[in-house]
């Protein structure tokens, strides 16, 4: 594990009845799992739910005491399959994934799990990465809930509501023999708040106890004819049971004045945004007290027909607030109302945008439009009268530079792409398939490398069609990270390329961690991990898969070597996929690990070296070719203050970690001799000090001698 401690968070997991828990939404869920007697937890890390995994990983001790089994799953499919433990046994289980990408990966297991159903409560915590700041394609998880007939909770975005949803979810799952999806938006996951804790509970049955007392029921196994039975059961037993549970337990909430002629049916997750919009329209106070009738769906699937129809009864118009596309909820409600012959005017998409996040302004506009049309009397006059002259603010869009995310300072992946760029300068452009992970930032400036990204571990697979009939012709290059490699890249990408005799080049970017998700350990991590078996070789795995041409580069900062290896891979006559494993430790994690160690060693009087790079500004000509091959945050431009010069020169700031990329790039690309590497030695040895003093004496003598013979201005 990366040297990042969650000890503080772990302490919060120990809180008992009545204590006030303070923290992020995702941590509140973690605590709620323990309060609800969960028996096992699994999942695949990924924003916004990786924090849950990290904390549980550091909380092995508490989990052990409670008899809870935790493991970091190889993928979301693994995580979902893990919930099989709740099929025959009355054990509560929970898994997490980032959706919608994780849900896609999990969907085979999800279908199987949903078909047979569960005995113990099974909770799938879905971190919905949708809207502004999301790192993935914009789709809804809702469709998965519908197709597999699993129920989906979408609680109001505050800690008490989210914590309650965990308990409700387990009970609903057990009452209906159905796995539950608990959907939390990215902002809910990171919302900071409080809730009143309860005592942690031991599971009613632990997984060890289950192993000692194996059970199986043939009718729960996904095989015909049981599968037909499962389908019928979903429709005739489980769904009606869910509807009953939702009504009886008051899962969905009613706010405002029931007599209102207009109403809103909203997803629980949008509640705060809706209330704020109503507040800004003068229709609610800041505590949410309002005269507008609101049905807040904390369970968005299934919908209870009677509840919806009752709500709509006697109303002129109802607005469905449903984020994302397609508008599944609106369609279902329209269907219900039509079947019942209702004439209430149904609004939804149209008043609100079809797609995109429902941000504050979008909600104000949408609700404003709805009330203006259907209840103009409700809106305070002051809200619709515009008597303010807007102040003209200059348009800065042409000035502001874009600031997309990029590689961190000292990132070991940067030199790999610098080398690729050099290869392209020499051999021309190639088709490049990219993959998910930090290395995807190669798509951005200054590298501008990579044409597609098709899914985690699928970089090389997405180059599969590119088979060149000309053996000496150009080959596709594809990238995959170590995380993606173990996720499924080994089989889907590497195995597939071997089997189909692909001639393409595969670069496996190995940074010792699942770095993009926060530095979790994976199979090939180099660190020792008490609870995991690490240090499994990627090279051996590839060889085992049948790869013949494989090169390991153990220091990616050697740009020349990476470039030459890549060139060799693109030109060798050897058949089959050419695999390059480029390994260097993620700098962010390395710094976290090494910095305290070095500081400690220096304090103890041990010899410690701190590397730093610099630029001789008199030698730098201000062409910035180095930056076109780097993009390191610590390498930037600065003015020289010299009136004889026009352009800013390169400069390296204090944040430099001395990775060496600058010098290596300058060397490999034959750029310029401006760069120097300074290594500052704390607690030098006596011999070292003597040598330094002696050299200094001679050097000073030479310098003084020269200066006596010329006019110098420096």
């Amino acid at each position: 594990m990366a040297e990042r401690s969650f000890a503080k968070e772990v302490q919060k997991l120990k809180m008992g009845e009545g204590e006030t828990f303070t923290g992020e939404g995702i941590l509140a869920i973690t605590k709620a799992l323990l309060e609800n007697g969960v028996g096992y937890v699994g999942g695949y890390q990924g924003s916004p739910i990786s924090h849950l995994m990290d904390v549980l990983s550091d909380a092995q001790e508490i989990l052990g005491e409670l008899g809870v089994h935790f493991e970091a799953s190889a993928s979301e499919a693994t995580a979902t399959a893990m919930l099989a433990a709740s099929v025959h046994y009355p054990i509560r289980g929970a898994v997490t994934y980032k959706s919608v990408v994780g849900t896609n990966v999990a969907s085979d297991a999800l279908s199987n799990l949903a078909s047979g159903g569960v005995t113990g409560g099974a909770l799938i915590i879905v971190g919905e990465d949708y809207g502004e700041g999301s790192s993935i394609m914009q789709e809804r998880t809702y469709a998965f809930a519908m197709k597999s007939q699993v129920w989906m909770l979408d609680p109001r975005p505050n800690l008490p509501a989210i914590v309650k949803a965990v308990g409700d979810g387990f009970e609903l799952s057990e009452a209906t023999n159905t796995p539950i999806m608990l959907q939390v938006g990215i902002r809910s996951c990171h919302v900071h708040g409080h809730f009143t804790a309860a005592d942690n509970k031991r599971p009613t049955q632990t997984v060890s106890e289950a192993l000692e007392n194996p059970r199986r029921k043939l009718d729960r196994i996904v095989l015909p004819p049981a599968t037909y039975l499962h389908e019928a059961e979903k429709l005739t037993k489980r769904k009606p049971a869910a509807e009953q549970f939702i009504l009886e337990r008051g899962i969905n909430e009613r706010f405002g004045a029931p007599a209102s002629r207009v109403g809103l049916i909203i997803q629980g997750g949008t509640y705060n945004t809706v209330i704020r919009a109503l507040n800004r329209l003068g229709l609610a106070d800041l505590y949410g007290d309002t005269d507008v009738d609101i049905l807040c769906l904390n369970c968005v699937y299934p919908l209870v027909d009677s509840q919806i129809v009752d709500f709509c009864d006697g109303k002129d118009a109802v607005l469905i607030v449903e984020e994302g596309h397609p508008n599944y909820i609106e369609q279902q409600i329209a269907h219900m109302l039509y079947q019942k012959g209702k004439s209430v005017k149904l609004e939804g998409k149209g008043k609100l945008p079809m797609g995109g996040e429902y941000t504050g302004q979008v909600m104000v506009d949408g609700l404003g439009a709805f009330f203006s049309e259907h209840a103009p009397g409700l809106l305070p006059v002051a809200k619709v009268a515009t008597n303010e002259e807007p102040i003209a603010i200059p348009d800065l869009s042409g000035t502001l530079p874009a600031r997309p995310p990029g590689f961190c300072t000292g990132c070991p992946e940067r030199p790999i792409f610098a080398a690729t760029k050099l290869v392209e300068e020499e051999l021309g452009e190639h088709h490049i398939s990219s993959d998910i992970g930090c290395h995807l930032f190669s798509i951005m400036p200054p590298f501008d490398l990579g044409a597609t990204t098709m899914g985690y571990g699928l970089g090389p697979a997405s180059a599969a069609a590119f088979h060149n009939e000309d053996k000496k012709g150009r080959r596709a290059i594809s990238f995959v990270g170590d995380g993606g490699f173990w996720h499924n890249g080994l089989t889907s990408s590497v195995g597939n390329a071997v089997f189909n005799k692909s001639d393409n080049v595969i670069v496996i970017v190995d940074n010792f961690y699942s770095a993009a998700t926060g530095g979790q350990d994976i199979l090939s991590s180099r660190a020792d991990n008490k609870t995991k078996q690490t240090q499994n070789s990627i090279v051996d795995a590839c060889k085992g898969m049948g790869v013949k041409w494989i090169r390991q580069i153990d220091h990616t900062y050697d740009v020349t070597k990476v470039r030459d290896t890549l060139k060799e891979a693109l030109s060798t006559e050897e058949e089959g996929p050419k695999v390059i494993v480029a390994s260097s430790e993620c700098m962010l994690n390395k710094q976290r690990r090494v910095k305290p160690q070095l500081a400690k060693a220096a304090k103890e009087g041990k010899r410690v070296i701190r590397p730093r790079f610099g630029v001789d500004e008199d030698i730098c000509t201000g062409d910035h070719a180095c930056m076109r091959l780097s993009g390191c945050p610590s390498l930037s431009v600065k003015d020289t203050g010299d009136p004889l010069r026009d352009d800013p020169v390169a400069a390296i700031d204090q944040t430099c970690v001395g990775c060496g990329n600058c010098g290596e790039v300058a060397d490999a690309a034959v750029l310029c001799p401006s760069f120097y590497q300074a290594e500052i030695v704390s607690n030098p040895t006596d011999g070292e000090k003597r040598r330094a003093t002696r050299a200094h004496k001679v050097i000073s003598w030479l310098q003084t001698r020269r200066d006596a013979k010329r006019v110098a201005f420096a």
């Binding site: 900071h192 505590y287 009268a385 600031r403 200054p446 003015d639 310029c672």
Partner: protein, 517 residues
């Protein structure tokens, strides 16, 4: 996404029945600046003052240098939980904090800074984005424009260089941002409560408090903001003239003083650079060029100033002896030690990155030998195989230092080296064009002088610079005699400096050909 056309709605937050109001605060930061720490501090301050607070963030890209937003809402605790929003809305932000100037500009563009409402707290320092860094010339965004917009957009602006304030206190920007927030008075919390929260955070407390206090005083106006000078401070170079060269140096100095006042500053810098580069005689040669330009010039002497600037640069081309000279100077060692912060009880090892190719090797030889070497393809291949590789030279060690020292000792015979011949041929041709053009179009001649800005870099980069220079200069014949010739010459040069591939330059050249052809 067709929205019905409607009257814009005035959406202002309504207070609670007891008159309580929510305060909204958004912080825009660049990933890695510690926005999370700042957020936690503000929440803690609010809660310590009997407020309820909620914070949210989108942390996914925070560590990786992208732009990120943190959002906080707070409200006096009346016993009921307010419904807090999870993200900032256009026109609904009371306090906007930006930890970098362009992020402040971005906040304005996104509608988070509302006239008559928003207090804008922004650090005016710059973190250049990748797009600003990669231009071969100067690609940096215009700060003045953003600062002007801040004044218009915000109700109240607190803007100064909070990065420098934090650094001077030995801290990081989150502490000075907090100080500026406290000092702005935008939140109804006493100063002590902020300091208490910093103290409770437990790490780097003393430095954080210093930085907080400095920023607080600047925000309240009690102290002036740190100066961000137009031109950055750099160690002022010292002129050192040895005894036996004083007389020679005095002669060239006399010539500089004889020039018109407008020209003296630039020529003064130029002569020092040139003499430092080679010798006093070389300086005299430089002054010849400046005086030739002056003969064709009149007040305000733009042509001569440009000649003083660009002739100095043209004469001081970057060759191996030059690089070796700079790398072996005492002043340079001091500067490096200062830059990388070496304490007295520490030792510094210094490695230089060199990669001389056969071309540079041959050019560093005396003319005859150099030319002979240039023709020997076999030798070139041999060099390529055995010597064409990166060299790491340790200049803190005697051996490494001596290697560079010897190369730097070529300076006295530089005029006899092959490289010098090539450079001078190029400089002479260019300067001849300047002198040809000046009598008819002085502005155009001034621009032609400025074209030397295109020649920069080493090896391939240097060649690319030369080729751009040649292409820009090729338009001279087409432009001569036109009213707007100087303007076009400048545009061509700007195009060449703007992108690497030269597509903009191609476009600009095509335009020139279209009207001049």
């Amino acid at each position: 996404m067709n929205m019905p056309v409607q009257q814009p709605i005035i959406a202002r937050r309504s207070p609670g029945p007891d008159g309580e109001k929510v305060i909204t605060l958004a912080a825009l930061a660049v990933g890695g600046q510690g926005g999370g720490v700042l957020t936690n501090w503000i929440v803690a301050v609010a809660e310590a003052n009997g407020y309820r607070a909620q914070s949210t963030s989108v942390a996914g890209v925070a560590q990786r240098t992208g732009a990120t937003i943190y959002y906080i809402e707070m409200c006096r605790d009346t016993g009921r939980m307010p419904v807090f929003a999870l993200s900032p809305s256009i026109g609904d932000v009371d306090i906007l904090m930006a930890s970098e100037l362009m992020e402040g500009g971005r906040a304005i563009m996104r509608g988070f800074v509302t006239p008559g409402r928003t207090t804008l707290i922004a650090s005016t320092h710059r973190i250049a984005s990748v797009s600003e860094k990669v231009a071969p010339g100067d690609g940096r965004a215009d700060s003045a424009e953003v600062i002007a917009a801040m004044g218009l957009a915000a109700d109240h602006t607190v803007a100064f260089d909070m990065e420098t304030v934090a650094k001077q206190a030995g801290s990081v920007i989150s502490s000075s941002l907090l100080g500026a927030l406290a000092g702005s008075g935008a939140l109804p919390f006493p100063r002590e409560s902020y300091e208490e929260v910093i103290r409770a955070s437990g790490r780097g407390v003393a430095a954080s408090l210093r930085s907080f206090a400095a920023a607080y005083d600047i925000a309240t106006g009690a102290k002036p903001a740190p100066e961000t000078p137009e031109t950055p401070v750099r160690p002022v170079p010292v002129l050192n003239v040895p005894e036996k060269l004083r007389a020679d140096w005095a002669k060239v100095e006399t010539r500089v003083v004889a020039l018109p006042a407008e020209v003296q500053d630039m020529t003064g810098l130029g002569i020092k650079k040139v003499v430092d580069y080679q010798d006093v005689a070389y300086g005299a040669q430089y002054l010849d060029m400046v005086e030739q330009a002056l003969a064709l010039d009149a007040a305000p002497y733009d042509l001569t100033i440009a000649a003083a600037k660009y002739c100095a640069r043209a004469l001081c081309y970057d060759d191996l002896p030059r690089v070796a000279d700079i790398k072996t100077r005492a002043s340079r060692f001091d500067r490096v030690r200062d830059e990388v912060v070496v304490k007295d009880d520490q030792v510094m090892m210094l490695t230089e990155y060199f990669h001389p190719r056969y071309e540079e090797f041959a050019a560093s030889m005396p003319k005859g030998l150099g030319r002979w070497l240039q023709k020997r393809k076999g030798l070139e291949a041999f060099y390529g195989k055995h010597f064409d590789k990166g060299r790491r030279i340790r200049t803190d060690s005697l051996t490494g230092f001596l290697m560079l020292w010897i190369v730097s000792s070529l300076r006295p015979i530089r005029r006899r080296l092959l490289r010098h011949e090539a450079e001078m041929a190029h400089v002479d041709a260019w300067f001849a064009r300047v002198l040809d053009t000046a009598p008819t179009d002085r502005a155009l001649a001034t621009e032609v002088l400025g074209n030397y800005r295109l020649i920069k870099g080493y090896s391939d980069t240097h060649l690319r610079g030369h080729s751009k220079f040649a292409r820009v200069m090729s338009a001279l014949d087409l432009l001569e005699g036109r009213e707007d010739a100087a303007d076009w010459m400048r545009r061509l040069r700007t195009a060449a400096l703007d992108d690497v591939k030269g597509e903009k330059l191609d476009g600009a050249l095509a335009t020139v050909r279209s009207f001049a052809g």
